[in-house]
Symmetry: D2
Subunit: 267 residues, 4 copies
Amino acid sequence: MALMQVNFFSTSLMRNVTYHIILPNDLPPDMLQGNEHNNREMKTLYLLHGYSGSTLDWMLGSLAQEVAGKYNLAIVMPSGENSFYLDAKGTGRAYGRYVGAEIVEYTRRVFGLSTKREDTLIGGLSMGGFGAIHTGLKYYETFGTIIGLSSALIVNSIKNKEEGFRNEIADYDYYVSVFGDLSNLENNENNPEYLIKQLLEEGKEIPSIYMACGTEDFLIEENREFHNFLTNHNVAVTYKESPGIHNWDFWNAYLEPSIKWALEDNK
Amino acid sequence: MALMQVNFFSTSLMRNVTYHIILPNDLPPDMLQGNEHNNREMKTLYLLHGYSGSTLDWMLGSLAQEVAGKYNLAIVMPSGENSFYLDAKGTGRAYGRYVGAEIVEYTRRVFGLSTKREDTLIGGLSMGGFGAIHTGLKYYETFGTIIGLSSALIVNSIKNKEEGFRNEIADYDYYVSVFGDLSNLENNENNPEYLIKQLLEEGKEIPSIYMACGTEDFLIEENREFHNFLTNHNVAVTYKESPGIHNWDFWNAYLEPSIKWALEDNK
Amino acid sequence: MALMQVNFFSTSLMRNVTYHIILPNDLPPDMLQGNEHNNREMKTLYLLHGYSGSTLDWMLGSLAQEVAGKYNLAIVMPSGENSFYLDAKGTGRAYGRYVGAEIVEYTRRVFGLSTKREDTLIGGLSMGGFGAIHTGLKYYETFGTIIGLSSALIVNSIKNKEEGFRNEIADYDYYVSVFGDLSNLENNENNPEYLIKQLLEEGKEIPSIYMACGTEDFLIEENREFHNFLTNHNVAVTYKESPGIHNWDFWNAYLEPSIKWALEDNK
Amino acid sequence: MALMQVNFFSTSLMRNVTYHIILPNDLPPDMLQGNEHNNREMKTLYLLHGYSGSTLDWMLGSLAQEVAGKYNLAIVMPSGENSFYLDAKGTGRAYGRYVGAEIVEYTRRVFGLSTKREDTLIGGLSMGGFGAIHTGLKYYETFGTIIGLSSALIVNSIKNKEEGFRNEIADYDYYVSVFGDLSNLENNENNPEYLIKQLLEEGKEIPSIYMACGTEDFLIEENREFHNFLTNHNVAVTYKESPGIHNWDFWNAYLEPSIKWALEDNK
């Protein structure tokens, strides 16, 4: 199992940025025997951190390395800063393109990862759950599976907010700088529901979606709402709820099951 | 000589960020003997990278470690992303406060660095030269010395630009997101000239300033202009020009001389 | 919560080495309120990896960061390479001194950690469990608590082995290079039982000891034997067994309970 | 230009170890135009640090990144700890195999580097110069070029030394643990002169050799001696001397010229 810290020049962000990758490329032979996940090209999970997090979060907060080894799965952990993994206006702020296209192309090329859609997963927690859903839908040809844990599906809570607004997380100027004009958010590419509607209209293949949220999470209503939206539009989704709040206990409880679902149950 | 990579939660940026620090705290005794810089509390240089750079730049591009050892100088290398080390609008975008206040307070507290103004230097190259000058002036009570190499003193080139503007570096939206309203830039805290005028009016002590720029650098006129502004306002400045362009050859030629000037000649 | 990767010159190892430290020095105020562990100087756990491991192991394999935050506990993770944390013969091979003295002195000085014995813990898994027990006993004035998980208490299995010996882990030359003359191991400072007998003879205060081992672990007999040795010598020890093998599932099950025991129950 | 810090399991060392690699795989197009070194598979330099150094040394002490970019050359910087890059006795101490075979195979496989002998260079300073010469000769089928700067060619100074010996660097036990039986060092694979004689006898192709040493270096006689040995045996060598001692000023003066020689002049 190799862990790499990579600093490279991102053309989406117009600067040198750092990501981490866990690469189960050197497992000792006795761990590989009888491991059904070993007889194939390297599948990859792009795993996104939450608001205020960093590229280190999943390594420190979860047992991602164990999952990588067990499922012979490369795990790439980019930093989305506090961008919601969206393309903001202005040079070097294309976080969506960074995560959805550039880092995929880069890691596939440098590390020889599988280029198949069904081998390419995107997941995340909180802001990273939003990022996984949004980026996975926008780059639906790249990602076969989306995993959103406690996803910060906040578009409906911030749309049409006006100057002076602020909530516990951030202020109006922040939301505008990240999401763009809030009065124009509904029918906009930054809105996952809008992307779903577009994909349905165009008859595109929507990635498999797995969602989980704790019933005491402050984002539970947002998750239920998006779940309902998906089922109302006949989009397949595996949806889980269980007691829990917005913390690592919950995300750790769902990290491996969601991967297992993606790589085994949902095949 | 210790090199540390530190990931911590910044309240200015509202997320976990990484900086590096070179700490000459464990020099072998024979390197300390006869080194006049050793008999004092640890002085510190906050050293800023340029546009598109990262916290790794000075370590990889220069011989900063050698300078740290020779002058018994802690060197802190934060990332300013592409922010020009300014406080932008919106939660978590206070890069100026991050570099000028938070990281100073944090590193002094955690590493026991000298808290004296005369022991606290800020320097940088290109965008980081702008950052050193701007942040050094804004936090004039913290920093005793400013070192600006090939500084991107671009306020006069971008002020009053309008939508649709773009130059080789970035577009209008980027400049607005970083500098704020461009039509209001002149008499604004983001303008180093404005800060100088304020400090003079209020009779504050301006940090010692060292500037250097290559005569073939695309920023030479901006540097000459700011140099003239300082001398016209009777602000002391040590100003150097020599043949050179905007590259590491030039910055390496001036890193040690500027430190030597600050710690020895200008005492 | 800060995570630092530190590279510094170790006089014990005569070269630059890297360790990691988790420093809960910047918890947001709301996480500090009502946390009884916050109203005190920073306690520290020196946490040792196993054979074939590295300074990254505890970060990737466990939820050490969570424990650090919950108990306001600095966690220092040095690399012992494959040394069993012993002082081997020859320049630069003093791994015991490195972990038991040098890194303690260094981290206390650089990070201002508590210098009290009762605030200083040493723990580890497998080879690191051996290291925690051995180093904790050898530097009994420094460490108030020892935590050994699935400890590789192998002295009795390798003593008096002769050239040509090898087991599943390593060969004779390795064991000699790490433990020294195997025919002289019993009454030797590298033998934890010998250290215990010495401390008892000299009437020294033995650190509090916590041991845990899985009942299916290949080291269970060695752990039971050492446990018996301690109780036979009237040395206090908290000893736990439960179903489990030599893996992270077991170590994760005991990491927090052992810390809680040390910081709360055993006060 | 990417910089990667890689932690992986080495079978030669039987543990997780860290190396760094500079990979000029993402140069912006305008830096690639007209760069003759760009139109080919990625050549690689394995670059070895000196005694007491680490994988970080060349990054911090030299401008290796600039050279990597200029010559489109991947630079791999392993840690040899204080092993002289030799295979010592005992499990997990095969540093020579680590650097000469395992890391070459690993980096070629993971990063798709050129597998051609003429594209594979090994270089180093001091102990790393010895390592480059020794490992380059032992793995003569892998490396086309050897660069030894201020090489610690100390075999003749330590051979036949007896217990109680020590010099300014280390003691007898250290030298035995690294080089093996000192009374048997002359006609032994750890002796570069012995390897040369063997290669000549067997009619093998010896890699191109570049040596440089400062005339005031404490190792100048050892370098002259090996140079004479090579010329006396009609082995081609490019040998440079100039005023200088055993420090980064000297190594920085020769890093790029030696690369240029290898990639341009000596083609």
